[in-house]
Symmetry: C2
Subunit: 411 residues, 2 copies
Amino acid sequence: MREFFRVVTLGEAERILAENWPRDRAEVVVAPLAGALGATLAEDIYAQAHLPPFTRATVDGFAVRAADTFGASPALPAYLRIVGEVFMGQEPRLQVGTGEAASIPTGGVLPEGADAVVMVENMEEVSPVEVGVVKAVAPGENIIAAGEDVPQGGWVLARGRRLRPFDLGLLAGAGVTEVPVFPPLAVGILATGNEIIPPDRVPRAGQVRDMNSYTLLGLAQAAGARATLWGIAGDTLGELQAGIEAALAASDLLVLSGGSSVGSRDLVLEVLQERLGAEVLFHGVALKPGKPALAARVQDSLIIGVPGHPGAAAVFFQVLLGPLLARGEYPPRELQPTVKAVLRRSLASASGREEFVAVRLVLEDGIVWAEPVLGKSGLLRPLVQADGLLRIPIEKDGLAAGETVEITLLA
Amino acid sequence: MREFFRVVTLGEAERILAENWPRDRAEVVVAPLAGALGATLAEDIYAQAHLPPFTRATVDGFAVRAADTFGASPALPAYLRIVGEVFMGQEPRLQVGTGEAASIPTGGVLPEGADAVVMVENMEEVSPVEVGVVKAVAPGENIIAAGEDVPQGGWVLARGRRLRPFDLGLLAGAGVTEVPVFPPLAVGILATGNEIIPPDRVPRAGQVRDMNSYTLLGLAQAAGARATLWGIAGDTLGELQAGIEAALAASDLLVLSGGSSVGSRDLVLEVLQERLGAEVLFHGVALKPGKPALAARVQDSLIIGVPGHPGAAAVFFQVLLGPLLARGEYPPRELQPTVKAVLRRSLASASGREEFVAVRLVLEDGIVWAEPVLGKSGLLRPLVQADGLLRIPIEKDGLAAGETVEITLLA
């Protein structure tokens, strides 16, 4: 056993990972707007022109001077003279004066002189040249002013923003069709272990197919990363060093899976510390399952050794790596969406570490039950069958059947 | 105004869309495992062999016969003769008899004769040929039996499953590296309106850039669809028909954006009904914002006309189309994850329709506040600034400041 074996709490692990997370690289790529969803904006974006570019009607109706409608009612309509029609997509060739109205479609340009639009439902036809308004409008009603969404020179979106669907629409409105973004993090995944073989091979005695790499690939992809499989390195210093160096050269974050035995973990640690000069950030997290995890830093890259048991690897990734990959930070627990459920059976938990239990959610007669999916931590199927994770806080020694709990859904 | 104008409740709209949703196509594609996340499995998958293929140790320690350890304690260890070592990835060349033990790493093959593993922490070294067990193990303890994750011939994953990260790992373990999946739904997006121009053009008087298509593209992509922009069709029967026919030929679901004015909606309806023989499923949903929406069916394709106001289009998509695209069904409300928050100001709502209000979530002193992001429904920025949607149920005429509410996060 090596001398450095630093076990940290979940909170410390979060802080250490967030502080050492690869980010703020100088490299910027230009993404087409249609391919920019989920990317991180590399520059502040300002509007070159008013959005919308002109004052628009938001309903079908008549453009009017609001003051002409004050006091109008079904019993006492305000009668206005029709001076023409505004056509969609065209500048109006008319003005609206006192006592006048012009028909206008939703999205049409408000003509000069008008300051509001009366909905067609609140008008009555009198003659081809006259209408009656039966409900008053206030100035500015049923219109959107030029620049009301974003004024010219105004801020559209800030550097560092993860682009969401509505952001794409706003960028389109501002005329930004090529978006400066930071490239997504390159996540490399390297399996280690003499017993691990690629999934397309048939295992001989003692061999198992590489399940963890594909689980980790899926988790990284689900969190928006550009993930690459770097194959399998056997448990020798030479193979490990070669595999880690090759993967590291192309990765911002390298995830090593496997190495669950003490001997295998020792080898990985020796390669990282003595051959690659890595700084070990922690080695062990007070987390169940997921304890035997390792974080190390080599220059600007982060190396994470996840536990070899699939369930433990999955919980470690979902709890500690997923949020950083997806958002660059850990959202406060209060802002993480959960499903409220009633715990179906009591669960004991050793205090002194955070424990996560996979649960299936079952809806019966309007009640959502959380059923712990029990199974040894070496099994993957319990996680396949599970819908979410239940957290048993570090200070609790268990949860009782019938308690209301909050479940975080699995990716 | 056309004669057919069928307004439905939100629940009816959900039922109609789910019933007419394009699905169960015969076409199956083969995806590489590394590219199968989120795809829909087209066949049931069974295990060709036991997973794991052999009985494995789940801890570092010694393989033993459990009966030999019964009654062992630190005061009275059970002494066992060391008969050798199991090496990782290799078939053991030894057997464990009564009174014997063999060292074994995590993941090693349990040797013949042994039925449990004692953790190294519960052993004491006596001599190079003898160990003392200080804590008894039960038969089966610290091992995973061959086939315990999935037995040979057992079911791995069912047809129709949306593949999640853990599923990829299980498929890898079962040796499935090429996955039969249904291709993702092809969502076409066609903007309509004489005033709409592509975002890379500079608007002339009366013109606006196409914001909705990009918002809808992002929403469709976020829900896992393969989405394509089909440009902009002007408000003439000929242009609309040509645009819709071209997009429809390549789409399972065609989303028409724009057409917010009555005249424009009438034109779309005329093309759909009279020129394309579409069956109109509904025309208007009791939903705010989002009411003026249309659903129609042409053969196996579904056509959705979303409202022209960006906020209304976004709410309609997020509430009605997103869940079907992402999962093929509407999850029960109880199973949808939410963030609990305290409403910061009272909101009035006309009863008779479901209302959705965009809110920003603000965490202050451990309390999550939901702040309604007010703004006219023609504006997109309120949705950009919002974190989630608050639903005001149809039977309520409002919500009071200080009420605890549940917020669904926006994509």
